[in-house]
């Protein structure tokens, strides 16, 4: 069983007191080729499922660009890997201090000598495509838009270009459980559908089609179904000229609520 205090204790064991109080940053003490290789082994089994075997990104952020949204210092990366990123799908881990530094070393190696992946399109034009296609009806960017689809405010920092492209053309190819839909009929005959936010043995919580938070008791339902597909239509073949590249460039530009200049 994972001990809840373990990451903090391990961190305390390897990080000097000055760094713990934020007065200094700490460089990775384990950067040899052996350390990189050891970090790579851990990476393949624990990180690659989201960040890709080569760090190219996917469900998780692209790690080959050398840009790290939650802090680019070694101790920032150490903290991110150890504690995870609140409010995202990135969990914490339970490795010891040396192993964590080895993962940092491997992650650093992914961006050595490689140019950042660049989107080909124009993000400003892409914003117009986003609006014309009505994407904001279901997606939020910095608090503006609908809520039935995933919040896209920092999708550019979280997803690779390939993943963004796939999400637009084949939205049902990779749908996370928090984006599954539910439809239900109460014993009184009322139909309710919405985004499944939480479910337990006796109840389900959803954001309904009118964007109301609704909790249903399963005992009150005559029908209850979960749809694991995306409710977004596939946009494959729906774009003209460079619209698709522009849209992807716009999505890639969305780096978080504090840095979305193209989103204004």
């Amino acid at each position: 069983m994972r001990h809840p205090l373990l990451p903090a204790l391990l961190l305390a064991a390897v990080v000097p007191a000055s760094a713990q109080h934020g007065h200094a940053t700490l460089s990775n003490p384990y950067t040899s080729s052996e350390d990189v290789a050891a970090g790579g082994l851990i990476y393949r089994s624990h990180c690659a499922i989201c960040h890709g075997l080569k760090g190219e990104g996917g469900r998780g952020a692209d790690l080959t660009t050398g840009m790290f949204r939650h802090g680019a210092n070694d101790d920032d990366l150490y903290r991110t890997i150890s504690e995870g990123i609140p409010g995202t799908e990135m969990p914490g881990t339970f490795f010891n201090g040396r192993q964590l530094w080895q993962i940092v070393a491997y992650v650093r190696s992914l961006s050595e000598g490689r140019a950042a992946e660049q989107a080909n399109g124009d993000p400003i034009k892409g914003r117009a495509v986003y609006r014309a296609k009505g994407c904001g009806g279901c997606h939020l960017v910095n608090g503006e838009g609908g809520r039935m689809g995933p919040d896209l405010s920092q999708v550019g920092a979280q997803r690779s270009l390939g993943h963004l492209q796939m999400s637009v053309t084949q939205p049902s190819a990779n749908v996370l459980p928090q984006h599954w839909s539910v439809s239900a009929v109460t014993k009184g005959g009322k139909k309710i559908s919405g985004l499944r936010m939480n479910e337990d043995t006796f109840s389900v919580q959803l954001l309904d089609a009118d964007e109301r938070l609704v909790s249903l008791s399963k005992a009150d339902l005559s029908q209850f179904e979960i749809d694991r597909n995306s409710s977004m239509p596939a946009y494959e073949g729906q774009f003209k000229g460079r619209e698709f590249d522009d849209l992807i460039a716009y999505l890639a530009s969305l780096q978080g609520p504090e840095s979305n200049s193209a989103a204004e």
């Binding site: 279901c138 910095n142 439809s183 985004l195 909790s215």
Partner: protein, 534 residues
């Protein structure tokens, strides 16, 4: 099955959920709790009468929210159309179903480790405006979070935690602004109230609770002591829409227990300030404890009451202060109308005709220590008092207790404690404190006209619980012992109580779920919700 109806319906943009008008007219929807004190007058009264004196014996536990946190649970939740928005200490937000407690979403914020807070890594609650929740964090940020999904809308650094600043107060949404203030009075901050643009997080105006050079009140600080003069904002203010004034209680001067380094009255510490919410301009102020040397912040809710005063209708403000005196002020002008002590007081002979305390010089802290009533925790503290028009009584959780106040030599270093010694006897413990001066707590009902005690419910220990008075004539409260209790609002007799097994340091609230009245209180590390047996 594809749920096409779902997608089609999202093409329509919905109107904002909680408008300023809804908060302004909160009494039209008593089943909700849309702002820190439910109403802008901070009466901590609910018209709900489903639970009343006759049926309260049928109260039972409906659900529990167990926080994944061991911090003190001082938060008051919001209730919006069947959803409970609560803070999990220090700064996570959860959205729960009001009927069952099941979770819709959770937003996690890990505060920066460079954070100093004097009195626990706590938070007192949220504001909501439109579809967005607003929370101050102990590392000095204002977070805006989507109420439907829990997604971050923006994070704005308002104050610098490395300078001792933090944000623990529940913000107040007034018209098109989010108003809140900074804490950190034990770390030599310069306090402030700020109005924030709810869309962008930009600061619109700022009122310094410690006036700078050239500003009125600056002369009440010797030398450069104003630069680190304290004046925290710990508790949410009130708002009078007719006068267009928002009222905020200001905390103690820094350093707390040595006034020699900050000679003068030290405005606007330990004061209530009346601000124009559109501009942040000061309309009036009233200082309860000039040149405070005991840490008696004006850390209470400004309770706004309209009632007759000497035969004429008048806009009043009722205030039981940490310094042990109960005050009645005219909230249009700040005029002092009445004041008397509501607990034992040995630091002042009384109040003069302007409400200024007539201090007893021997009560000032000394190097050897001097015992003074009330204690450093005060005659009362930050937890909500209550007022009920029907009974006409002002209810307060009172501490009859003393502290020995010592004077030390404060040394200011940026971001660190700056207090000047520490009083002894901070925390009464009825099982270990064998001194003659052992104190006790009480819930007291005061007459606003006379300030006299109409009744009291005496407790063995003390209480950090706020109060809630209801349309069912019930007064809810709690205790550090862990009891959640209901008293008869007319005479203080105990109607019902239960042991929740952890100290209560929060204020009870009431709301409706499924058309039925519920009452919620935080105790220990959990929030408990009660309703009548079906």
């Amino acid at each position: 099955m594809r749920i096409f109806g779902l997608f089609l319906s999202c093409a329509f943009v919905l109107t904002a959920q909680v408008t300023y008008e809804r908060i302004l007219n909160a009494d039209k929807e008593p089943g909700n709790w849309l702002t820190y004190s439910r109403t802008y007058d901070s009466n901590h009264y609910t018209p709900l009468d489903g639970i009343h004196r006759e049926n309260i014996k049928n109260l039972e536990l409906k659900w529990v929210f167990q926080a994944a946190s061991l911090e003190k649970f001082e938060m008051t939740p919001l209730i919006v159309d069947g959803v409970v928005y609560a803070v999990q200490m220090p700064n996570d937000i959860v959205a729960l179903d009001a009927a069952t407690g099941r979770r819709f979403w959770e937003y996690k914020h890990i505060p920066d480790s460079k954070t100093n807070v004097c009195c626990g890594r706590v938070n007192r609650g949220l504001a909501i405006l439109g579809d967005t929740l607003y929370m101050g964090t102990i590392d000095g940020k204002l977070l805006a979070v989507d109420a439907k999904t829990g997604a971050l809308v923006f994070a704005r650094q308002l104050v610098d935690p490395t300078g001792g600043y933090s944000l623990t107060v529940a913000p107040l949404a007034v018209k098109d602004k989010i108003i809140l203030g900074a804490a950190g009075g034990e770390y030599g901050i310069r306090g402030r109230v700020m109005a924030i643009d709810p869309k962008t997080g930009e600061e619109i105006w700022r009122f310094y609770t410690i006036p700078g050079p050239g500003e009125p009140g600056h002369e009440t600080w010797s030398e450069d002591s104003w630069e680190r003069g304290g004046g925290s904002i710990w508790v949410t203010g009130s708002y009078d829409p007719e006068l267009n004034l928002t009222y905020w209680g200001v905390g103690n001067p820094s350093p707390d227990w040595n006034g020699d380094v900050r000679l003068g009255d030290n405005l606007y510490t330990d004061s209530v300030i009346a601000l124009d919410p559109d501009t942040g301009k000061l309309k009036w102020h009233f200082q309860f404890t000039p040149h405070d040397e005991w840490d008696w912040d004006a850390v209470q809710l400004p309770v706004l009451v309209d009632r007759e005063w000497e035969g004429k209708p008048r806009k009043l403000m009722l205030w039981a202060n940490r310094n042990g005196f109960f005050y009645v002020l005219d909230r249009e002008t700040g005029e002092f109308l009445h004041g008397n002590n509501f607990v034992k007081v040995t630091w002042a002979k009384g109040l003069d005709k302007h409400g200024r305390p007539i201090k007893i010089p021997e009560a000032a802290p000394t190097r050897e220590g001097v015992r003074v009533w009330p204690s450093v925790q005060g005659g009362t503290n930050w937890y909500a008092p209550a007022y009920n028009e029907k009974t006409g009584l002002f209810y307060v959780s009172a501490w009859e207790y003393s502290s020995v106040y010592h004077k030390g030599d404060p040394q200011y270093t940026r971001g660190n404690r700056y207090v000047g010694s520490l009083p002894r006897g901070v925390w009464p413990n009825t099982m270990t404190d064998v001194e003659e001066q052992q104190g006790h707590g009480a819930i007291r009902a005061l007459s606003p006209e006379t300030g006299e005690k109409e009744w009291e419910f005496k407790m063995t220990g003390v209480s950090e619980s706020g109060l809630l008075v209801t349309g069912g004539d019930v007064l809810f409260s709690g205790s550090l012992e862990g009891y959640f209790m209901a008293l008869d609002a007319f005479n203080g007799e105990r109607l019902w109580s239960t042991n929740l097994g952890g100290r209560i340091a929060a204020s009870p609230i009431a709301f409706e779920a499924g058309g039925k009245q519920m009452v919620a209180i935080a105790a220990g590390n959990s929030m408990f919700v009660f309703g009548l047996r079906d």
